[in-house]
């Protein structure tokens, strides 16, 4: 199983358990694609040119870094600003996924999401992936995070 972006960011930040870190480290040594992506991510987060050859991929990584920074900023601000969490967050996310799943389904999926929104992505992505496929769902979730969380 390839690690996702969020896991790699946490790996870089030292936020994972020791066992998980060891698992990711082994995978990065064995999987060229993930290794390359991790290099790009690391370079983008550190503000360095990195090892990526494609300009577009660098753009991608830079955008990702902006998303990550945005999430971190949002997490810090959420505690102080109640409008950024709870019902307000759910309503913004529902507005993004409702046109795909239907308004009632969006409300139903988001109902069990916690007030802090920490389980938001792990709740909505599996349902979207069931209907749209994992690749399309992952793109949609990225844009939902961007529009409903980062740009607020």
């Amino acid at each position: 199983m390839h690690p996702d972006v969020e896991t790699l960011v946490r790996y870089r930040g030292g936020e994972l358990t020791r066992a998980r870190r060891a698992e990711i480290a082994v995978h990065l040594r064995r999987c060229d694609a993930c290794g390359l992506e991790y290099d790009r991510l690391r370079a983008a987060l550190a503000g360095e040119p990195g090892t990526a050859r494609e300009g577009a991929s660098l753009l991608d990584a830079a955008m990702l870094a902006a998303v990550v920074v945005g999430i971190q900023g949002w997490e810090a601000a959420a505690a102080a600003n109640p409008a950024w969490s709870g019902d307000a967050l759910k309503s913004r996310v529902a507005a993004r996924i409702g046109p795909y799943l239907g308004a009632r389904a969006a409300a139903g999926i988001l109902q069990p999401v916690s007030e802090t929104g920490e389980d938001l992505l792990s709740t909505i992505e599996p349902v979207l992936a069931l209907f749209l496929g994992a690749r399309a769902a992952s793109r949609l979730v990225t844009s939902v995070v961007d529009a409903a969380i980062v740009r607020i």
């Binding site: 390839h2 690690p3 996702d4 972006v5 969020e6 896991t7 790699l8 999987c31 694609a33 993930c34 390359l36 992506e37 494609e54 577009a56 991929s57 753009l59 991608d60 955008m63 507005a95 993004r96 409702g98 046109p99 795909y100 799943l101 239907g102 308004a103 009632r104 389904a105 969006a106 139903g108 992505l121 992505e125 349902v127 979207l128 992936a129 069931l130 209907f131 749209l132 496929g133 994992a134 690749r135 399309a136 769902a137 992952s138 793109r139 949609l140 979730v141 990225t142 844009s143 939902v144 961007d146 529009a147």
Partner: protein
């Protein structure tokens, strides 16, 4: 969660606008399907009116035999093309891929059946085959486009319903649904009993006839699935994903209606001016079958571009 090895092959900065343009093109395809079907139905009404006024049946035959056959074949081809494209959007092991495999095969059967029945199985300017072979083509087309296609479609819709159940949005049939399905089930049961009795009394059916026996039970199964899908979509509320399954539901309902109409015509319950309307049912049914994968693909393309409205996708 995004899988890096899958998404890193094409830079997303390049892919997203491309996906948005694809979504716009698909919206044009679905509009074209609706427009072509609408134009043909209008033509059919004009031909029906001309037939009633002049008493010349050639008006109707010309419209349905050439443009009608071409449109049906084109719709079946579009259905197959779009179903294969939808299938390719899912990775191996994904539940919807399991559903779209049989649906794509059923679309292939639909195309083969339509070409055999509408083109090769009739005396028509479109038919390049010898007239002597028409009956064999028609028989083959009825089997491929009937029980084979319906069995595959029933399997596909069953897997789609499993996805709805897994997501927690599987709808339930209500009393009205059972009120429709109940009498049809009784009729199919009576018909099956009659067949068994006839065989016991020495009737020797031809292979073509015997192979077409499962059509009505399969249509009933499809109706149950279509109604459950419709209720599931209702449970979720209107959304792009639901359009696809609503289109399948409408298509199955129209096919069932056409089948009942054909039966009523054959047994003399439907007089001729109304019987012509039955011919027209197959066009919207074919259009709905073609629209279903178009809507599914559109939803996937919108997801890639992250849009929340069709207008956004154009922008």
């Amino acid at each position: 969660m995004p899988q890096l090895c899958e998404s890193s092959t094409v830079p997303s900065a390049l892919r997203w606008p491309f996906r948005a343009r694809s979504a716009v093109r698909l919206a044009s395809v679905s509009s074209a399907i609706l427009l072509a079907s609408g134009v043909f139905l209008a033509l059919g009404i004009v031909a029906d009116a001309a037939w009633l006024l002049t008493g010349n049946r050639a008006w109707v035959e010309v419209v349905f035999r050439v443009p009608g056959a071409l449109l049906m074949a084109l719709l079946a081809l579009t259905e197959l093309w779009l179903s294969v494209r939808v299938l390719r959007q899912y990775s191996p092991g994904e539940p919807m891929r399991t559903a779209w495999w049989p649906i794509a095969f059923s679309a292939g059967c639909d195309l083969a059946g339509t070409v055999c029945v509408q083109v090769l199985g009739v005396e028509s300017p479109l038919n390049p085959a010898p007239v002597s072979a028409a009956s064999a083509f028609r028989q083959f087309g009825l089997v491929v486009g009937g029980p084979c296609r319906f069995a595959l479609l029933a399997a596909g819709l069953y897997f789609a319903l499993r996805v709805y159940r897994r997501s927690g949005f599987l709808g339930r049939l209500n009393a009205l649904d059972w009120a429709v399905l109940g009498p049809i089930a009784v009729y199919i049961g009576v018909e099956a009993g009659g067949l068994i009795l006839a065989v016991e009394r020495g009737k020797r059916p031809g292979m073509g006839e015997a192979l077409n026996w499962p059509v009505n039970p399969l249509l009933w199964v499809l109706l149950v699935e279509a109604m459950m899908l419709y209720r599931s979509v209702q449970k979720m509320g209107p959304g792009w994903i639901g359009w696809c399954w609503k289109a399948f539901s409408a298509a199955v309902f129209l096919v069932a209606l056409g089948d009942i109409g054909t039966w009523a015509t054959a047994y003399g319950y439907l007089p001729w001016p109304w019987a012509a309307a039955v011919w027209s049912i197959w066009v919207p049914a074919g259009a709905a079958f073609a629209l279903a994968p178009a809507y599914q693909l559109q939803a996937i393309q919108y997801a890639y571009s992250g849009r929340t409205s069709a207008a956004d996708a154009v922008a």
